[in-house]
Amino acid sequence: MNFETIMFYAFSAMIVFAGLRVITARNPVHAVLFLVLTFISCAGIWILLEAEFLAITLVLVYVGAVMVLFLFVVMMLDINLAQLRKDFWRWLPFGAALAVLMAYEMIWVLGSYETPGGNAAIKHAADYSNTKELGRLIYTDYVYPFEIAAVILLVAMVAAIALTLRRRKDAKSQVISEQVATKKADRLRIVKMQSEHKDSAANQLGEQK
């Protein structure tokens, strides 16, 4: 058993453990943190497969951006755990029976399955650029799915705006064209009044004291 195999099993064990904890953790914040651990372990496996770019992107985008946002959202939500767990024990036998049945079926199908030798991951020279190869494939062979993925992001934007934008009636905003077109007569009102004398102003001050 060489070093890489040991690392592979270590990362895999971490993924399974963290994945289980995501769904069993009592505290939602802990669950999110375990999800982060799952992603980082996945990135580790990708590094072992020499997919450095994907591994770094996973950590940067998912762990660095998406999961942090997720964490904020989870912290802001007021989740009543007691409410969520109210019927847990009532439904447990039903759910457990289904889970056991599913597991049994999967073992039954795959039980006789002999792991084929498979092909070892292809090793490349040190100057081989994973990123360049990915870029070439995405913009040539896979350009059609790539564009559809872009359209899906556009749909997400449109949907997010359509679902959350509420035009508030009391919101204040500037209308630049009106501001520029304003004339003196619109804003300035000249009021004729009698002039005030100095001593009368002093009298008023004295009364206030």
Partner: protein
Amino acid sequence: MDLMTNLMPAAAEIFLLVMVCVILIADLMIRQSGRLVTYMLVQLTLLGCSVITVGTHENGVVHAFNNMFVDDLMSDVLKLLTYLAVSMMLVYSRQYLTVRGLFSGEYMVLALFAMLGMMVMISANHFLTLYLGLELLSLSLYAMVALQRDSAVATEAAMKYFILGALASGLLLYGMSMLYGATGSLELGAVASAIQSGEADKNLLVFGLVFVVSGLAFKLGVVPFHMWVPDVYHGAPTAMTMLIGSAPKLAAFAFVVRILVEGLQPLVQHWSGMLVILAIASMGLGNITAIAQTNLKRMLAYSTIAHMGFMLLGLISGGVEGYGTSMFYAVVYVLMSLGAFGMIMLLSREGFEADTLDDFKGLNQRSPWLAFLMLLLMFSMAGVPPTVGFYAKFSVLNAVVGAGHIWLAVVAVLFSLIGAFYYLRIVKLMYFDAPESHTPIKVDSDAALLMSVNGFAVLLLGLLPNQLMSVCAVAVQQSLLLP
């Protein structure tokens, strides 16, 4: 030159995407009352798409984008029908949504995005494009269901739809990854030949197949993966229900045929067994549960489940006849479903939803014409001759018997008879009961005209079904390269 040969088969998709972006911006910039300009632009876009689809049609099967995209007769026919269904949906829903303040630019743009997703699904030749098309369609639909933000029911429906849809996508992806592991390819043709060669591991293939079929069943809404259908159909605004219940069924048909028939044909004895169970359970549960419903939208949801089960029967039979009748059934179902949901919207008015069975009581006294059209639609759904529903059911059963599954045909007929009860009950309510309200029915002239055309199409296609039937058969034959 090479670029153009790649792009031409997908010209309709490209045109649609460009137009969606144009409409998105134009809707912001143009001052208009009642979104009329946007609406006309959308309808023109649909017209343009049909012209392009007809114009770029080539005989035979054309692959593009590195075999990820396929343009054949089946995809062209299904796409044209999809444009028609979306266009009809917009006509029916304009008045209904305008009085509810939902007839916005975003609504139309999302409908077009959903249609783009359907087109991608119809023309997919690769697991990746199949999945992405499905997600594009689903995401647009989730958002559309939730557009009525102040309605708790609609929000709940959107939430359920979203969560169960995500679960189904997960199942589908897991199954696809297993198939990829066994065959080493995501392209449907390569997957089929890898299985054919016998090199792929059989256990792994069947394991993946179970998940793929479960995912497909979720998206089709057949038992036991049907739980989302009644709640979503009931909770969503009727216009969105109409969109979910019409055009996507064509795309779903193409999706199932592409995966199971084109990609996994060598595993046919495995998946046809699964489809038999799904079909019988759907027809049984759909038809029996629909009897107990008092809400028409919910009833139509259970009826969808039953109809989708019936459509699977054609796929089980196989061959040109089986797949052709299945496609015919999907097309006919879309036509009937557009009419039925359209009727609910026509009878609704500001602050009132005509979606319970009681609202149809005595419709004959209030509007004999609409009652007659509804009668045609209900007869067709029940499968009463001479409407097209009868012919669709008959031809599917014919194919089932031809494939040697006589007991399956008997079961299907029995459940259809049970189903006839709740369709005919609506006819009874309309003609023999006294109306509960005497509010005059005000209908937009364009929607009323379309409803008349829709009702008569159901009758006419029933009298002269051969044209459409042969189009479906030839399309399936050419596209799937069947003898």
